[in-house]
Subunit: 102 residues, 2 copies
C-alpha cells in the first residue's frame, strides 16, 4: 500500500487505465455485434465464412496504424488474431446451434 | 468476390469493423503509454511491479462491464490477461535494458 501523493498519483494513472479499458470493452462489444451480422449475412448470401485476402489487408492496415500510434506492430497483429479467433469460435458455435435446429 | 448490393453491404460492415479496430488500436497505444509511466513511477517509488489485488479488481470490474455490454465475460478476462502479459513483457524488457546500462 502507498500513502499520500504517491498513492494519489498511482490512483490517477489507474483511473485512466480503467477508463481506457471500459472504452475498449465497449468497442469490442460493438465489434462482435457487427461480426455476428456479417456471419448471418454471409450465410444468407452463401459466401465463405473466411476471407484470407481481407484478413491480410486488415493486418497490414492495423500494423501501419499501430506503428504511427507508437504501438508494437507485432503485438497488434497478435491482438487482431486473438480477436479473429474469437469471431471464428462464435461463428462455429452459431453454426453448431443452427445444425442442432435443422 | 461479390457484386452489387451484397458486396456493398459487406463493404459497409467491414468499414465499421475497420473504424472500430482503429479506435481500439489507438486506445491500446494510449494504454501502453500509461502503463509505461506506471512502471517508471513504481520503480522510482520502490513499489512492487505486480499488484494481484488490483488485477483481481480490474478483472471483476471488466467482467461486469462486459456482461452489461453483451460481451462474453470469459473472453473479456482472457483479453485483459492478454494485454497484461504484454505490459509485463514491456516492464521486463525495460528492466533488462536498465540493468544493461548499470
Amino acid at each position: 500500500m502507498t500513502n499520500g501523493s504517491a498513492g494519489d498519483e498511482l490512483a490517477r494513472f489507474r483511473s485512466s487505465i480503467d477508463n481506457i479499458d471500459a472504452a475498449i470493452i465497449h468497442m469490442l462489444a460493438e465489434r462482435f455485434k457487427i461480426t455476428e451480422r456479417i456471419g448471418e449475412f454471409k450465410a444468407r448470401e452463401g459466401l465463405a465464412p473466411a476471407d484470407p485476402q481481407r484478413e491480410s489487408e486488415q493486418i497490414a492496415r492495423l500494423r501501419t496504424l499501430a506503428a504511427e500510434a507508437g504501438l508494437n506492430p507485432t503485438f497488434t497483429e497478435k491482438f487482431l488474431r486473438f480477436v479473429m479467433d474469437e469471431v471464428i469460435r462464435h461463428h462455429s458455435a452459431a453454426q453448431d446451434s443452427s445444425n442442432d435446429n435443422s
